[in-house]
C-alpha cells in the first residue's frame, strides 16, 4: 500500500476528521522522527479537479493550526520511501520548517510594459542545438533583460516592503510587450495585515505596476529543500 503525502509539519498529533483527502480517503498523521506527515492510504490518484482541491483543502486545514510544508500534488510513496526521504534530509527539513514557522505566503502579480526582447548576436550565429539550449535557458532563468527586470522589481519591492518580507521568490514571464511577474513573499502571519496595507499604498503610488495580491497561502513556493545528498556531492537540486 502506498501513501499519498499532503504536507509536513513540526507539531501536529491529530487531524480534523471532517476533512477528507484525495479520492475521499481518510487523512492521518504519520510521525517520523520529529516530523508529522499528513498522508492517506492510496494506490493511485486520478488527476481531477476534485482531488487537487482535496489536496489543497488538507494542506489548508493544517495551515489553520500550524505552518505546513506542502508536497506537490501527486506525491505517492511507500512508508519506507517517505521514511528514507525524511531521515536522509532531516536537517534540511528541520531548517525548512523553522524557516516557514509562523509565516504565510503572499503572492503578488504585476504587469508592466516591457521593451521587446530581441535576439542577441550569439543567438543569430548559433546552430540549432545551441539555439535550442539558449531558448531552454531563457525559459528557465529568463534572458538578460528579464533578469535585469527581475532585479529591478526585487529592489523596488524590497525597498517598499522590505521589513515585512522574510523571503522572496520572483518569476518573470515576458511576452512581446507586457511583462508579467509573479512574486511570492514569505511573511510572518502576525504582519499580514500590515503587508496588505503596504501593498495597497504601493498600488496607489505605482498604478502602472497593476499589482494584484492574493493570500494568505500555505508556503507552497518556499517548500522545496536543498537535498542534503546533493549538497554533499556538490549537486544543486
Amino acid at each position: 500500500m502506498k501513501l499519498y503525502a499532503y504536507c509536513l509539519c513540526a507539531d501536529l498529533d491529530a487531524f480534523d476528521k471532517s476533512v477528507s483527502g484525495v479520492s475521499a480517503a481518510a487523512v492521518r498523521v504519520l510521525k517520523m522522527e520529529d516530523i508529522s506527515v499528513l498522508v492517506s492510504d492510496c494506490e493511485a490518484v486520478p488527476v481531477t479537479q476534485e482531488n487537487m482541491l482535496a489536496h489543497a483543502a488538507v494542506v489548508r486545514a493544517v495551515f489553520t493550526r500550524t505552518t505546513p510544508v506542502p508536497f506537490r500534488f501527486g506525491t505517492l510513496a511507500t512508508e519506507q520511501q517517505l521514511y528514507t526521504f525524511i531521515t536522509t534530509n532531516k536537517r534540511a527539513l528541520a531548517n525548512k520548517l523553522a524557516h516557514v514557522r509562523g509565516c504565510v505566503e503572499m503572492d503578488l502579480k504585476t504587469t508592466w510594459q516591457s521593451s521587446n526582447p530581441s535576439p542577441t548576436k550569439s543567438d543569430a550565429v548559433a546552430g540549432p542545438g545551441t539555439a535550442f539550449l539558449l531558448e531552454k535557458r531563457r525559459e528557465l532563468v529568463g534572458d538578460d533583460q528579464a533578469l535585469a527586470e527581475r532585479a529591478e522589481l526585487s529592489t523596488l519591492l524590497r525597498t517598499e516592503l522590505g521589513s515585512l518580507i522574510k523571503d522572496e521568490k520572483i518569476g518573470l514571464g515576458p511576452s512581446e510587450k507586457t511583462a508579467l511577474a509573479k512574486v511570492y513573499h514569505l511573511v510572518e502571519s502576525a504582519r499580514m495585515k500590515e503587508y496588505r496595507a503596504r501593498v495597497e499604498e504601493l498600488r496607489a503610488q505605482r498604478p502602472e505596476l497593476q499589482l494584484e495580491v492574493s493570500g494568505p497561502w500555505p508556503p507552497y513556493s518556499f517548500a522545496n529543500i536543498e537535498l542534503e545528498f546533493g549538497s554533499q556531492f556538490g549537486v544543486s537540486c
Partner: protein
Amino acid sequence: MPDFDQILVGEEWESTDVSLLETLDHVLNRGMVIAGEITISVADIDLIFVGLNILVSSVETAHDVLRKRETE
C-alpha cells in the same frame, strides 16, 4: 468538491480572494518534490523522476525515446 468558504478559517481569511486557478497553480506547480526514484502515479500514467530532478517524463515517453535510440 471542498467548499473553500468552509476551509478558510478566521475573519481575516474569510475575505480572502482565493481563486480556483490560483489554488490549482499552487497545488500543481509548487510544493515540495521528493527527489530520487519514487514513482508518482496519476491517472494510470507513471511519472518518474530520473536522477536528481533532471528529467520528468512519462514512463511511456521515456521508453519510446530509449527504443528510438536503440534502433538508430
